[in-house]
């Protein structure tokens, strides 16, 4: 079952001059065809300006395509009539946790989306408690967000989305502003959501995070240039480097070892696999 499908998706940003008149267009997406399956854990990789965030903003109708179509569960996203239904199905988490928390108390913020949807108060209480427990911030529910750490704040933002009970969550570089500890917490939460059967689209430029996904899509200049399992993608070290991306450190090390004549397999993505292969080799 597919959940999101884009067909020949084009998007142009308009460039304005000082007086506000359109002087030029800049294409951010040039014909993207992508299908996301239900329950999938998909990572979108790409250099700055590759169009990955622009693509993500089409998944819940924040941006409407210049050309082409986006469907969520078969519903056309550009139709304004369905916009709130779609935004409830596809939740979105952004980079800066501070700028997406609305209320001055954690539980009030988690409840924000449900309040907007007009859910009765008793049901709100039940759903936010469940959401806060599932991302492990229940004990901070009465705290002010600015007293929490980055990782905790990002989990509050995720809880606010989970409370809507979406089928899919799009995370736009959710760990980019976090410290290593916060990054770990958020990745743990994402994996938990995957296990619960929620479709995850993770936009990132950390190779180690992308390597944990089931499927990786690489974008460059508004187009999808690679699509496959992490092992297929990361073994193509030279191609990734040509579009300004890195590979996980161990994969690169394996690549270098092979270049120097060692019989080392290319498809290692984490330390454990590397150590195993190394032991075999020795």
């Amino acid at each position: 079952m597919e959940i999101i499908r884009t067909e020949n998706l084009h998007f142009d940003y308009e460039i304005y001059d000082d007086k506000g008149a359109v002087v030029d267009k800049s294409s951010a997406l040039c014909g993207v065809n992508l299908t996301v399956q239900k329950g999938e854990f998909l990572a979108i990789l790409g250099h700055n300006g590759s169009g990955k965030s622009t693509l993500a903003k089409h998944f819940n109708g924040i941006l409407t395509p210049t050309n082409g179509k986006v469907f969520v569960n078969g519903i056309d996203v550009s139709d304004d009539k369905n916009i709130y239904e779609i935004r409830q199905m596809v939740g979105m988490v952004f980079q800066n946790p501070d700028n997406q928390i609305v209320a001055a108390i954690v539980e009030e913020d988690v409840a924000f989306a449900l309040e907007n949807l007009g859910v009765p108060p008793l049901e709100i209480r039940e759903r936010i408690d469940e959401a806060m427990k599932s991302v492990d911030i229940y004990k901070y529910r009465k705290h002010a967000p600015h007293r929490l750490s980055g990782g905790q704040k990002q989990r509050v933002a995720i809880a606010g989305v989970i409370a809507m009970r979406p089928q899919c969550i799009v995370l736009d570089e959710p760990t980019a502003m976090l410290d290593p500890k916060g990054r770990k917490e958020v990745m743990k939460t994402i994996k938990f959501l995957v296990e619960k059967g929620i479709t995850i689209v993770l936009i990132t430029h950390y190779m180690e995070e992308a390597a944990q996904a089931k499927r990786v899509v690489v974008m460059h200049n508004g187009e999808i240039i690679m699509d496959g399992a992490p092992k297929q993608i990361f073994t193509q070290v030279d191609k990734l480097k040509s579009v300004g991306l890195d590979v996980p450190q161990v994969t690169e090390l394996a690549h270098e070892l092979r270049k120097n004549g060692l019989n080392f397999p290319a498809n290692v993505l984490n330390e454990n696999e590397f150590v195993e292969e190394l032991i075999k080799l020795l």
Partner: protein
């Protein structure tokens, strides 16, 4: 340094005062203010003051906090006191030296005015000390809701207050960072003189404004993603609910008000 500032300080608690409906508490505060201005003599003022102090005792707020709430208005109190003391003329002379004469009436009015201001401030502070900012915002939204009929944007106002409460600590923190960053680049922020001081603010205010607009933009996006579409059809997690307690309290406040008014007629 800037971090220590808290807006609308709230001290969580479980006291009777804390449990009162925020809408009623706002009404009580208005009534208390009216009461203090209706009182025409020391006895009336005393009744009102004793009532407010009793509310403090019930709320469990530390005595220290009363003094703290008065701190910023000490200059105002002193100013009012001095003005009334020296400029009100009467018949009985209290003391006289050099060119100043202090009359008994002046001393009385001065004391009266100072007590009035002090009780007014501590009475108002009790509202913010015992009510969470969110409850306060909700209560204002609820109390102003009749104005919706004349197209006054009540929900938008409440939402703006909520967002402001959320972002004030954040922007204060950011100002701190910008000050440090500009100092590190050699900005002279401790300049003397009004014009120079104002100029020194520019390198702080401009980055702060840009950042605030950026934040606003992202926040709007995040709110849209969470299906925000204005106040229509919106429900609330916590509903304001009035109980018997609120009506009892209302009765009590009105009683005290009554005593103050009667006192005016009898002894006025």
């Amino acid at each position: 340094m800037l971090k220590d500032i808290t807006i609308g300080q709230f001290f969580p608690g479980e006291s009777v005062i804390h449990r009162l409906d925020a809408r009623f508490k706002i009404i009580f505060s208005v009534l208390a203010a009216a009461m203090l201005f209706t009182a025409q003599n020391f006895m009336g003022l005393g009744v009102a003051a004793v009532f407010i102090v009793m509310c403090y005792a019930l709320s469990g707020i530390k005595f220290r906090m009363i003094l703290k709430s008065l701190k910023p208005i000490i200059p105002l109190i002193i100013f009012t006191g001095i003005l009334n003391l020296f400029f009100i003329k009467g018949e009985e002379i209290l003391l006289e030296f050099w060119f100043v004469t202090v009359y008994v009436e002046g001393a009385k009015t001065s004391a009266f005015m100072m007590t009035r201001i002090i009780t007014l401030i501590i009475g108002m502070s009790l509202l913010t000390y015992t009510t969470s900012p969110i409850m306060l915002t909700d209560a204002i939204e609820s109390l102003l809701s009749p104005l919706k009929k004349v197209r006054f944007p009540v929900h938008e106002l409440a939402m703006m207050m909520m967002i402001a409460l959320r972002f004030i600590p954040l922007l204060i923190e950011e100002t701190d960072k910008i000050i440090m960053a500009q100092k590190a680049r050699g900005a002279n922020l401790d300049a003397k003189g009004l014009v120079k001081k104002a100029k020194a603010l520019i390198p702080i205010l401009i980055p702060l404004f840009i950042s605030a607009f950026k934040r606003a933009n992202e926040l709007a996006l995040a709110m849209e993603c969470r299906c925000y579409r204005g106040g229509e059809g919106r429900t609330r997690l916590k509903k304001l609910q009035s109980s018997v307690l609120d009506y009892l309290a209302l009765g009590l406040v009105l009683c005290v008000f009554g005593i103050v008014i009667v006192n005016n007629f009898v002894f006025g």
